[in-house]
């Protein structure tokens, strides 16, 4: 949370709740998306990602919560919100009986663009999204990647300031996925705000400025990808020493370290931040220890994802344990070792 510069929120939601009958889908989530950023809502299937997008894009209602989108209240001014957003759904929302060009022209007409301006924008989008050759072919003949590109292009005809991308790369082959990522980066460079949902950590890591981890209808963690990784149990600094003497000396000054006599290493729990590294090195300096080699092990978002979402399912009855414990990063490892030894 180093963003000292005050930002303008494009989406601000507090206490958003939604149930389908008895089933709680969203258990009161808060979101704050800054203008011109990519916000990723990351979570497994059934976490409530699509429901969140459906609510924020005015498609369905919610049971509780306050939401402002592009300075308009979602409940009282849905039409003003609609005018500010573009939506690309998980399943392509294109007209299958029309061709690509007609689909885009339909959007231009519905945005009441003047004829020439509409045609110019349609041609431009066809070009930009590489649909020119297939422009006059029925959409049913399009490949998955092409449909998704058309779908996204349709959401852009109205020049929205906020774009919802609900799992934009789900089901795409790696090449199309990369192409979609490039397109998203271009959009952000153009100043658009993007609200992205994904179940791919790599995607959130690559594209997002901020990530919220959604599990079982709750935001279990939120921050920049780097922040989330640092908060992850299992992050540590591995120190290697030239000989036993140095190792002994270091081990005496660092009590929570794990020692490996054979490899001459010490693993010290750490969030990998500069501050904690400096503290660690200062401590080693004071103990006059010579460090041969130092490696920082930061978990990737995959670890964060599995730890946080997994933990939640295991301890569903006890909400206090949803926050990952950072005190003993080695618990899992050592218990594994113990089990193999016995």
């Amino acid at each position: 949370m180093t963003t000292a510069r005050p930002h303008r929120s494009v989406i601000r939601a507090t206490g958003l709740r939604k149930s389908y009958g008895d089933k709680l889908v969203l258990g009161g989530i808060d979101l704050d998306v800054a203008e011109g950023t990519v916000f990723a809502l990351l979570g497994p299937n059934g976490a409530g990602k699509t429901t969140t997008v459906q609510i924020l894009s005015t498609l369905i209602g919610a049971d509780a919560g306050e939401v402002t989108i592009a300075d308009h209240d979602l409940w009282t001014q849905p039409d003003a919100v609609r005018a500010a957003i573009g939506v690309t759904g998980q399943f392509s929302a294109v007209d299958n009986l029309l061709n690509g060009e007609e689909n885009l022209q339909l959007m231009a007409d519905l945005h009441h663009l003047p004829r020439a301006e509409g045609r110019r924008r349609v041609a431009d989008l066809l070009e930009r999204f590489d649909i020119v050759e297939a422009a006059r072919k029925p959409v049913v003949t399009y490949s998955g990647g092409m449909r998704r590109r058309l779908d996204l292009a349709m959401g852009l005809v109205g020049d929205p300031q906020l774009i919802f991308l609900d799992e934009p790369t789900t089901g795409l082959d790696p090449r199309s996925r990369r192409g979609m990522w490039d397109i998203i980066r271009e959009l952000v460079a153009g100043g658009v705000t993007i609200f992205l949902t994904t179940q791919y950590l790599e995607e959130a890591d690559l594209l997002a400025d901020r990530v919220a981890l959604l599990d079982d209808g709750r935001v279990v963690a939120e921050g920049t990808p780097a922040e989330l990784k640092r908060r992850m149990p299992g992050g540590h600094v591995s120190l290697r020493f030239a000989d036993d003497l140095q190792l002994d000396r270091a081990a005496r000054s660092l009590d929570d370290a794990r020692r490996d006599d054979e490899a001459l290493t010490l693993d010290v729990p750490s969030d990998g931040s500069v501050k904690s590294l400096r503290a660690l090195l200062d401590q080693l300096d004071r103990a006059a220890v010579e460090v041969d080699d130092l490696q920082i092990h930061t978990p990737d978002l995959d670890d964060v994802f599995l730890a946080l979402t997994g933990q939640r399912t295991r301890s569903a009855t006890d909400p206090s344990t949803t926050e990952p414990s950072t005190t003993d990063p080695f618990t899992t490892d050592s218990s594994d070792i113990e089990e193999t030894v016995r």
């Binding site: 005015t58 005018a83 392509s92 009986l97 029309l98 519905l110």
Partner: protein, 265 residues
Amino acid sequence: MSTLTYALADSRTMLRRNLKHMVRYPTLILFVIGIPVVLLLLFVYVFGGALGAGLGPTMSGGRTEYLNYLVPGILVLTVAGGGQGTSISVAMDMSENIIARFKTMSIRRDAVLIGHVVGTALQTMIGMAVVLVVALLLGFRPDANPAEWVAAAGLLTLITVALTWLCVAAGLWAKSVETASNIPMPLLLLPFLGSGFAPTDQMPTAVRWFAEHQPFTPFTETLRGLLLGTGIGSDGIVSVAWSVGIILFGYFSARSLYDRDPSAA
């Protein structure tokens, strides 16, 4: 542009979309033309002789006489047949994800529905024109003057719009395309349970009571009066009242069904 201009523009855009669908996938128009033409041929050439003889003492009877009697009923039935196509195409459209996109756009809310109504109404009118041409070729001889033709066309348009709104609502209400194709079935039967194919005064009391109080009888009688000069009486007013009532009911049902929160279902 004003709100009204936007509303018209959006509806026109949606109508254009529907017309493109129809031109590209013209299966439904076959419904609209096929059923009435087959029934026309069947009733004229198979049952016509017998039914013509039973039309009553005021008429001379016979096949041509029966054809003249039958055509207004067949035209009204064409509208009902078009209704089935409407429900199917609305239900099919609602199962497409593009509808969700429309709902997240700042456009006139009922433009999608108006597009469907105007599109299928036009389709039904074309169907009726074809049916009328077939009837004329078979020997249908109306004696309407130009004003009566205009009135007949107006009445058929009104009935078409009314039944189309009703069938749009049915298509929205249906959870599946199959259901949507079944709901309007009774509409196809109503002309038979009225004065479309035989005079009501020869029906058993209960059936006759129903026949005389359901909308298709005044529809048929008014049309018959305009085209063939039989008595209209209060049937004209009753037809208009039924139509307006059905339009209001159909429109508001369709609106609320379209607006219903899909997550609340």
